[in-house]
């Protein structure tokens, strides 16, 4: 049987712009970005002398792995050359879109982006390691394992916040209040742990606090149809003010009993934790990192393979269609927003009972908003969001290592790094992201 072609051209095209070659000026975004990275690599090489040392042995490790000594300038030049090669390769489909088959285009883009970023980081490390030692003295090794495990742990609140965001957005409710969920989670976990002495009760209270913010969000967004962006920002302001007030009036005077929680100890997973390099990075951390693994695996599986996931995605895309097949749209939205809050609450608890050991005013310091960004440029998928969060965590960690080894760059400029990298990746490489259709749109029955 034949079907007549649909009348309008856009209907014939795939809905996702990145599926094929890109049109217009955007086609040149990738080669141009690669070119800039390549030139920066080479520039770094021109300013490097001597050898950089990379170390892979964590502190107090029984088994030591020999340090890797690489010629700094050579490494930079090599990275630069490879990056420029990729820039040329990326230029081919931009200039002659029909010369390359569009199949696999997307996978190649992702791999290329990953390789270019990796090369840039290597060049940056090589340069920074030799630049701190002016004169002939040997460079201090940069510890790669510490860098990686630091990034991973640093990213825990962002990863968990972003996963919360993904669930809410996929259900059709935009959750700007992740920041508030993190902050209240941190606050409640600190108090509960200090008061009861139990870390686990603290963890549960942190999760419940995130869920409480989620409930407020749900009630006002779903039942009272308040604009969800405004509502999220207001909730964040409310929680910032409330925790600040309570901190000054309760936590400061009774700091010994209410704001001195213990923190979770590192727990090395038997077996896995002993793998060289990978073990100390991924399997030797607090319970928070393992919870993140479980949540990530569970949510990404559930969202795409279960009845719950199908219905959740349906009410975020086309709630009317879901309603006509008997799905209770509002009930499911309530449930998802409130339950997702638990995840962000755990992320918040990490601040106080996972790393710092006491609550401080505004200690989430905008990471909830970063989580929101990670969710969007991770294309509203749990894995994408987590990888995006890791990129941010990594650049933050890199920045703090670079500033600690006295790289000759203004420290204020260094502090910008995570944001600059985020902007470059979002604008130049990720491209247009299409969110769930009904995200932020209240569902009102006719």
């Amino acid at each position: 049987m034949t079907t007549t072609a649909s009348p309008r051209l856009p209907d014939l095209l795939p809905g996702d712009g990145s599926a094929g070659a890109l049109g217009g000026a955007r086609r040149f975004a990738m080669p141009a970005t690669f070119l800039v990275f390549g030139l920066v690599d080479i520039l770094l090489g021109a300013r490097s002398h001597g050898s950089a040392i990379l170390s892979f042995t964590p502190q107090f490790a029984k088994v030591t792995i020999p340090n890797l000594t690489i010629p700094a300038a050579g490494t930079c030049y090599l990275s630069g050359a490879l990056t420029l090669l990729l820039a040329v390769a990326a230029l081919v489909p931009a200039v002659a879109p029909r010369a390359v088959p569009s199949l696999g285009n997307r996978a190649w883009r992702r791999v290329a982006i990953g390789v270019v970023l990796f090369l840039f980081v290597i060049a940056l490390l090589a340069w920074s390691d030799v630049s701190q030692s002016s004169g002939g003295s040997e460079a201090i090794p940069i510890n790669i394992v510490n860098l990686l495990s630091g990034s991973l742990n640093q990213s825990i609140p962002i990863m968990l916040g972003a996963i919360t965001g993904v669930i809410c957005s996929r259900s059709g409710v935009i959750n700007i209040a992740i920041e508030g969920q993190l902050l209240l989670g941190a606050f409640c976990a600190a108090i509960a742990t200090s008061a009861t002495g139990s870390l686990w009760i603290g963890l549960v209270c942190g999760a419940l606090a995130g869920s409480l913010v989620g409930s407020l969000l749900a009630v006002f967004a779903i039942a009272y149809i308040v604009d969800q962006v405004v509502l999220g920002v207001v909730l964040n302001g409310l929680i910032l003010g409330l925790t600040g007030y309570l901190y000054n009036s309760i936590l400061v005077p009774y700091g010994d009993t209410l704001n001195s929680p213990a923190t979770f100890n590192l727990w090395k997973i038997p077996g896995l934790g002993d793998i060289p390099i990978l073990g100390p990075v991924f399997f030797d951390s607090t319970v928070f990192l393992y919870i993140t693994y479980i949540v990530l695996a569970f949510v990404s599986f559930a969202l795409f393979r279960t009845r719950w996931g199908l219905r959740t995605r349906a009410i975020g895309e086309h709630p009317v269609a879901a309603d006509t097949v008997g799905i209770r749209v509002l009930a499911l939205r309530y449930r998802n927003v409130i339950l997702a809050g638990l995840i962000a609450g755990i992320g918040g608890a990490y601040f106080t009972i996972g790393s710092v050991g006491s609550f401080g005013i505004n200690m989430s310091s905008g990471e909830g908003y970063i989580a929101l960004a990670a969710m969007i440029f991770g294309r509203y998928t749990p894995w994408g969001a987590v990888l995006a969060a890791l990129l941010f965590g990594f650049t933050t960690q890199l920045q703090s290592i670079l500033s600690s080894i006295n790289v000759p760059i203004q420290s204020n400029l260094l502090l910008l790094t995570p944001y600059v990298v985020t902007i470059i990746v979002v604008a130049g490489l990720v491209g247009k992201v299409r969110g769930p259709k009904a995200e932020g749109v209240p569902y009102v029955k006719a």
Partner: protein, 529 residues
């Protein structure tokens, strides 16, 4: 979820009344649907057809009246109840989740799961294949719905209802979005369903279709049943019932008196577009949608361009309006070259444009009717004074135009998007048909309109011709071409396969529409009447 053989269901609606405020949308409607029949509900837009079906589907609660199934009263508080009772509905605007696969859409709400809520994707896929095969529907369970043509999306909706064991299937204006070919496919499927015992309620305002497919026709007007007919009923009879007065199905018009050439299109080529919205070049066809078209339109004549949808008509109109870039060839208006002119310059030169997609391209839905009436002239006198708008003039213009074109709207301040299709088209015509129009381009001017509105639009177009305007009509409905055109050009794959006089028979046009070439001894276009 396995579909059992359908047992016929006797569905009866008894005295259904539904009010919205002071408006009575359904006024004591009674209807009886016999098993294994196609029962058509015919009525103009706003006659209450959709309201009645929403009552039946549990989306609305009736103020009075009852629904009886096999003689027993039933009450539906939600679509779930209606689905449970064996009623399926294909809405005019599809209830499909665009990024989902066909199988996911079909299974949504009645998912087959293994323990732990795991989706059993394989089973759904098999069921879709099986049903699709049984009724010759050719639906791929793994296709993403938004990539499918509307005709196939509609079949997905039908499969969705069948999987839920619908024994009464409601189709709300199913052909409004379909091409003629897709419509025939749909009718074949409907007949097959009917023969297997499913009752079909077919809602439409198109007389021809209702005649072709229905076993019983119930006509609604202003919320009431005004008559019931069995085909063959005459079209004039049905139209009169529907509208409440005698309707001219074909406008009477005097023979054309063509004057000088107004629009002259020479070897026009419009290349395959790089869609800016999607940022993806069309890979499916590298052929230019408009591929060397030449034709003239004279003052005081209507040239009708006939052809199956998707043969370059949309691109032709958009290129003539300067909305698409032209690769080669020329467009002249009264001898002046407009090939590279901006849309604004073309409007200023006296071109009026009634676009194919009136909601997307013809109106700004969220703007008021009054604002829409000055979309092409808001920045000049008398509607603008310096940098400010002259609101009183705009309001006065709106009142006058609404009266002149009989636009049915609560107020000139109502958003244009809230109007019915016919009234939206009247707003566009009222805006476009002003003083100084030299050329009118109208693409699918009556698509989706009811007979009353069609009559109105056709009359206005002929009126323009009689005033000496050159008119270009692009339509995929042959009826419309016959009703209006003084000269017919047939377009196929971006080329004109022939010019014919208005008296030509449909078989000959059909031959040209399928790509048949001109016979060598046919007269040149300029010699045609």
């Amino acid at each position: 979820m396995e579909r059992q053989s359908v047992s016929g269901m006797q569905l009866e609606l008894k005295g259904i009344t539904k009010r919205f405020g002071s408006l009575v949308a359904n006024d004591g409607i009674s209807l009886s649907v016999t098993p294994g029949q196609v029962h058509a509900l015919l009525g103009e837009n706003g006659a209450g057809k959709t309201t009645l079906m929403n009552v039946l589907y549990g989306l609305l609660q009736p103020d009075e009246g009852e629904i009886h199934i096999d003689g027993k009263a039933a009450s539906f508080h939600s679509p779930k109840d209606a689905i449970g009772a064996g009623i399926g509905m294909v809405h005019q605007h599809f209830m499909l989740v665009p990024p989902f696969t066909v199988a996911e859409n079909v299974t949504l709400g009645i998912e087959q799961v293994r323990p732990g809520g795991l989706l059993d994707a394989g089973r759904t896929r098999r069921e879709v294949r099986e049903l699709s095969h049984r009724y010759g529907m050719d639906v791929d369970p793994d296709a993403i719905v938004e990539d499918l043509p509307v005709g196939i999306q509609q079949r997905v909706e039908i499969v969705k209802a069948l999987v839920r064991n619908a024994s009464v299937l409601v189709l709300d204006e199913p052909t409004a979005v379909l091409t003629p070919g897709e419509t025939q496919e749909l009718f074949r499927i409907i007949r097959q369903l009917r023969d297997s015992g499913t009752s079909i309620i077919f809602i439409s305002h198109k007389l021809k279709e209702v005649q072709e497919i229905a076993d019983t026709i119930t006509v609604l007007r202003r919320g009431k049943v005004v008559g019931e007919r069995k085909p063959p009923a005459t079209e004039a009879d049905l139209a009169a019932l529907m509208v409440g007065r005698d309707v001219q199905l074909r406008v009477t018009k005097a023979p054309a008196t063509p004057g000088d050439v107004v629009l002259s299109v020479d070897s026009l080529v419009v290349p395959a577009a790089v869609s800016s919205v999607h940022g993806t070049p069309a890979t499916a066809s590298t052929q230019a949608p408009v591929n060397g078209l030449s034709f003239d339109v004279r003052a005081g004549e209507i040239l009708g361009i006939a052809g199956v949808q998707g043969n370059g008509q949309t691109e032709l109109c958009e290129a003539l309006m300067g909305l698409l870039p032209v690769a080669s060839g020329s467009v002249r208006l009264n001898g002046k070259d407009l090939t590279q002119a901006t849309p604004r310059a073309r409007l200023d030169a006296g071109i009026a444009y009634v676009p194919e997609d009136r909601r997307e391209d013809g109106l700004v839905g969220s703007f008021s009717v009054a604002e829409n009436l000055v979309l092409n002239s808001y920045d000049r006198k008398p509607f603008a004074r310096g940098i400010t708008l002259s609101l009183p003039t705009i309001a006065a213009n709106a009142m006058a135009r609404i009266k002149e074109f009989d636009v049915r709207t609560e107020s000139p301040a109502a958003p244009a998007g809230s109007l019915s299709g016919g009234n939206q088209q009247k707003v566009i015509l009222a805006r476009e048909l002003g003083e100084g129009t030299k050329l009118l381009i109208a693409s699918q001017p009556t698509r989706g309109l009811d007979v009353g509105s069609i009559e109105f639009v056709h009359k206005r177009i002929v009126e323009q011709r009689d005033q000496g305007v050159a008119v270009l009509i692009v339509s995929s409905e042959l009826d419309e071409i016959y009703a209006l055109a003084d000269r017919i050009a047939v377009i196929y794959e971006g080329e004109i396969t022939g010019f014919r006089p208005p008296g030509v028979d449909a078989a000959e046009l059909g031959r040209l529409m399928a790509g048949g070439t001109d016979l060598p001894n046919t007269p040149l276009p300029e010699d045609a009447p």
